[in-house]
Symmetry: C2
Subunit: 336 residues, 2 copies
């Protein structure tokens, strides 16, 4: 474990300057404070005195709404707090931007603010801190992201494989055999995971895997508009969506084209957002229990803080069957 | 939640008989007690009065030694206890046989003994209780086993994919390109998982996948004897083993045949059993941190007891590099 002395030696400055830098004293320049903090992070120094005084965690959030109960992040944060606060943790919710990440390294941010650990929501593979996570030593739990080889990092999420397996079994019972996927592009950990889960589920149940049954596109409405007719033309009778928001856009699109759901096409979302009960028809979807996911986030952090180097906790998925799925329409190909 | 009344109605007996049966009174026949307990389990009745009095967990163990520190199960149990006892849980360690499982259903056993939850070690797919686990409602965590669709069951284990990925990357840095696998037959959850992890790792790193590089056999020494010459003939220069015990038998076998490790063949085990430091040469192996796995077992049970329906917690694997791996020998095929 590195000491103040190690930092002083490495920087060629006095121990008292290091101490001032670590404790935000005003007679140290911003430039010097930054060098001291960065070196402290590099050497793995932990400010024990500070840490003993307060138990402080942060939830860092990006690309995710969380301020009202119908927002996706709201329940995640609530579940986390329900576990953490009774154990005496102070929790800050900190929205993070890409610009902020470019200015301040993650380790420096954590040390400056006196956080012992963090729960990270909504980061994408493009976030600058994602690179730093490979070597950082602050216990950190990521929702729907996975960092290889670093025992200070853990992942929590809902089991996509279980979710799509439940969905495919439900569709098969309804007679569907040609099942498509419409998803965002494979530029995030979770979209890759869902894509593989889709292939895995088809393979496991002996269904046709065909690249023409799959539509990947960045823009939600546009890709729905492009791919729904394409997939129907291929004889697809049911479509899984990577997220509810895409399934909901499919409802609008099908309405415009007089494609009846579920008579002409069954659709299944992923997430069980609050609004999915109120669509016409109400959406069959794979549920992630967001409160439980937040709790998992804290369990995972507890493991890491207790030196149990877990890689991941997966929450079970469940299928919420509503009215957007029904018996398969016999496609033209099958009739012949 | 079912009541004593529900049990009485279902069986057509009085409430007081049900109560006597549940509380092991002597004036109820064994036959009747069994019917009462089985019905209680079926209806999901929980004996709240009993449960409030004592917090009691069990570790059910089979096919695994655990009594002395060099046994595989010893550390698993120790890690579990280190987490559970400070929280006030009483823990019984109960060896379980297949015959016992045939006589007493799992739910009846749990209710009779007043256990709230269980951690299960060493069960195979053939164990009678495995079928009951699909519907049982006692929070139960299985080490190296996975039960689909039941939110009362969770799984803990070491990440086989991460383990074999680390092993394959290590071997590739040493110049190996033809990497084999020797494993037990695919009749257990964990052996299937390791088999898939092996294929996944080769695929990810663009290495040749060839069924002739794989040897699966029940008997350790016999399958090692059969497959080592076969794999070498195929040009394999390194072999992953599903368990240390098989890798250790390979050391003996290679010694008998004047095959030098690692000059002629690199080998990697899985588990990091205590004895692997003392073999000649000491064994490179994938480490499962058994104490941490035991702790994971308790974290997973805590989730379930708190109604957080996790499916799995995976512990990170690490690669312990000793002397059984070295630079690849250029095989006859590669020389040409």
């Amino acid at each position: 474990m590195a000491t103040i002395n190690d930092i002083a030696t490495k920087l060629g400055i006095s121990k008292s300057t290091v101490s001032k830098g670590l404790n935000n004293a005003t007679d140290v320049s911003d430039e010097m404070r930054k060098r001291i903090l960065e070196t402290a992070v590099e050497l793995g120094y932990t400010n024990k005195r500070l840490q003993k005084k307060i138990k402080k965690l942060c939830i860092l959030i990006e690309n995710m709404d969380y301020t009202t109960p119908n927002h996706f992040g709201y329940d995640l944060i609530l579940g986390f707090k329900q576990m953490a606060e009774p154990e005496g943790w102070l929790i800050d919710i900190v929205p993070i931007t890409i610009d902020f990440q470019k200015l301040t390294p993650y380790g420096v941010f954590m040390m400056q603010q006196g956080y012992q650990a963090a729960f990270i929501l909504g980061f994408s593979l493009l976030d600058p801190w994602m690179a730093e996570f490979h070597s950082c030593k602050f216990p950190t739990v990521l929702y729907d992201n996975y960092i290889k080889d670093n025992p200070y990092m853990a992942s929590v999420g809902c089991d996509s494989e279980e979710g799509f397996d439940l969905a495919v079994r439900h569709l098969m019972r309804l007679g569907h055999r040609k099942i498509g996927l419409i998803s965002g592009p494979l530029d995030s950990y979770i979209l890759k995971a869902r894509y593989h889960a889709y292939l895995e589920a088809l393979d496991k149940h002996g269904l046709e895997i065909n690249e023409n049954f799959i539509g990947l596109g960045y823009y939600v409405a546009e890709s729905t508009r492009t791919y729904i007719p394409k997939l129907l033309k291929e004889g697809v009778t049911a479509i899984l969506f990577s997220h509810d928001i895409r399934a909901i856009s499919a409802i609008t699109e099908c309405d415009d084209r007089d494609i009846r759901i579920p008579e002409d096409l069954s659709i299944i979302g992923f997430d069980d957002l609050p609004m999915t009960s109120f669509t016409t028809p109400p959406l069959t979807t794979i549920r992630q229990d967001r409160i439980a996911l937040g709790k998992c986030g804290f369990y995972a952090l507890s493991c890491l803080l207790n030196h149990v180097a877990i890689g991941s906790i997966l929450l079970r998925a469940s299928l919420i069957i509503r009215e957007s799925t029904g018996p398969a329409k016999i496609s033209d190909q099958q009739k012949i």
